[in-house]
């Protein structure tokens, strides 16, 4: 068994999806290789090694997705990986799609589990808002290409040594590689990291306006939580994309998820339904969010949230 895991450099480390996938892939046995795109700093490389990658094939950050896919496809011919695991990051998806088309192999996306039995690779997906689990087997031969959901597996180091690093040759892909990143901009969220926070307080369209996120932020501050949001309010421009929880945003599994004015569209539930305790406030008693909530308050967020803020302040003093 030879498994490749796609990694990108983020904040001086390897992507969390890569560390999760490496941890899972250790259970398959055999060779474990990380394809790492970015600066290739020592902490990032060591992190990949510590999670089980014996080898890192490195590419610099200024290479187009088309060229990364071409480089990986060429390496596939000589290295013959059985399985290639990507995360849900934008570059992950760009490269996975292109590699799949280049190799003529399917991609199975949104995997919540990957199992290997002899030569057969199977992927589990949760569809229809997480109500139905589908297990699919690759039948086209190696490599099996899959995109796994964030936090599908825990990331646990096994104390592996620093990996052997070699630079992957990047072929010229002509016009397909003709994209340039002119500048990068950060729109950082305040407060704790949304993906790691023990408490998340999220707001949805039921809040009525961007200015109402101030009370969500205040509530989050009082319980030491991070602020999240639904796709609808991110699309409306109330808060930046970095706040988005759901299928196309972040996946969170906090101890407590407090949903304020969120109806619970499938796309949102997928990103938060595995939280330990879910508390929801919504006007509509029929809102799907109440189907997953441990405690649901049918009421107006504009009354309940300010009252909760006052009660928490009184409680703390």
């Amino acid at each position: 068994m030879k498994t490749w895991v796609f990694s990108t450099e983020a904040d001086g480390g390897a992507s969390s999806s890569a560390l999760e996938a490496l941890t899972k892939a250790r259970s398959f046995g055999g060779d474990l290789v990380a394809i790492h795109v970015g600066a290739g700093s020592e902490p990032a490389l060591n992190e990949l090694g510590a999670h089980g990658a014996a080898t890192v094939l490195h590419l610099s950050a200024d290479v187009s997705a088309a060229a990364i896919a071409a480089a990986m496809a060429a390496a596939c011919e000589t290295e013959q990986p059985d399985l290639i695991i990507f995360g849900m990051g934008n570059l992950d998806r760009d490269v996975a799609g292109r590699l799949s088309a280049r190799l003529g192999k399917p991609v199975l996306a949104n995997a919540v589990d990957v199992t290997v039995d002899g030569d057969s690779v199977r992927v589990a997906n949760e569809i229809l808002g997480g109500t139905t689990k589908v297990v699919t087997q690759f039948t086209e031969g190696a490599p099996a290409i899959t995109i796994t959901r964030p936090k599908a597996f825990p990331a646990e180091p096994n104390g592996g040594d620093a990996p052997t690093v070699s630079t992957l040759h990047v072929p010229d892909v002509g016009h397909a590689g003709d994209v340039v990143v002119l500048s990068s901009h950060a729109e950082s969220a305040e407060g704790p990291d949304l993906e790691a926070a023990a408490v998340v307080v999220s707001g949805g369209r039921g809040l009525g306006g961007a200015e109402k996120f101030e009370m969500i932020a205040e509530l989050a501050g009082l319980v030491g939580g991070a602020v999240g949001a639904t796709r609808a309010v991110v699309d409306a421009g109330w808060v930046p994309y970095s706040y988005q929880v759901g299928q196309t945003g972040k996946t969170v599994k906090p101890s407590v998820y407090l949903a304020c004015g969120i109806s619970g569209a499938m796309q949102h539930l997928v990103g938060m339904k595995d939280s330990t305790t879910i508390i929801a406030i919504n006007k509509d008693p029929e809102a799907p969010i109440f189907g997953v909530a441990d405690l649901g308050i049918v009421g107006d967020v504009h009354n309940v949230v300010p009252a909760l803020i006052e009660a928490l302040k009184a409680h703390g003093s």
Partner: protein
């Protein structure tokens, strides 16, 4: 300037989806609707076409094994010039790669300068079709765009990133994938709805595009996930916040 917009007709997301117990495909009713996230791509195309002037055209492209056209008419009513519909019962249940082969072949045949897609469909959300289409066409991909402009014959976008956004530029021909929220999609006018009825819709088969459907995967099992145990739902009587406070104390957050 030929702009091709990929759109998908899906079962109405407001009604619960069902799987066919025989083949596990999503059951597709006769009257499917336009995937809401595709309206953004159509709007971006119409705005770019306005900038390019009289020479520009906007053609919709959709794969529709069922033959329903309701969703296509919705997008035509927004102002697209025509549509290409790939209708082929053999494409029922096609995976992302087969879909991409069909879309790429049809876009090439239409001599598209720019192919615009959403980021992922609402019903299948594999999220790799734009990239596969770009690879199969041998063109650059500008993906996850939250803002699109046209600068000196190139397309410049703000690409969503985990930290914020990147400004990325690519030359044509290219594939562009847009996020919902990139623009405010227009609503069809009465005139647009009437005009949509007489706009040209070309139909093609997979064979005409020289695409052989293949799947490369087989479903092993389908089972229900145990539902999360429903909790307590109470009407707020002015004391609802105290219930939340008690719950937060119970789980030791406060």
């Amino acid at each position: 300037m030929k702009i091709v917009v990929c759109v998908k007709q899906i079962p109405d997301p407001a009604s619960p989806y069902k799987l066919d117990p025989e083949n596990h495909f999503v059951v597709r009713p006769e009257d499917q609707v336009l995937d809401d996230t595709d309206r953004y791509g159509v709007e971006v195309a119409l705005q770019l076409a306005d900038e390019f002037g009289d020479e520009a055209s906007v053609t919709l492209l959709s794969m529709s094994p069922g033959g329903s056209q309701q969703g296509i008419r919705q997008a035509l009513a927004m102002g697209a010039d025509g549509a290409i519909l790939v209708e082929d019962a053999g494409l029922r249940g096609a995976d992302a790669l087969t879909t991409s082969r069909v879309l790429a072949a049809a876009a090439k045949r239409a001599a598209a300068d720019l192919v615009i897609t959403g980021t992922e469909s609402t019903d299948g959300y594999t999220g790799v079709v734009p990239q596969q289409v770009a690879e199969l066409m041998g063109v650059p991909s500008l993906t996850f765009a939250r803002k699109v402009e046209h600068v000196d014959g190139k397309v410049r976008i703000e690409r969503q990133t985990q930290a914020g956004y990147d400004v990325v530029e690519g030359s044509l021909p290219a594939v562009l994938s847009v996020t919902s929220g990139v623009v405010e999609p227009r609503y069809p006018t009465f005139k647009g709805i009437m005009a949509a009825k007489s706009k040209p819709v070309e139909t093609l088969t997979a064979a005409e595009l020289e695409v052989t459907p293949s799947s490369g995967q087989s479903i092993v099992s389908v089972e229900s996930v145990p539902a999360r145990e429903a909790g307590e739902v109470i009407e707020d009587d002015g004391e609802g916040h105290l219930k939340i406070l008690a719950k937060l104390e119970e789980v030791k957050v406060v």
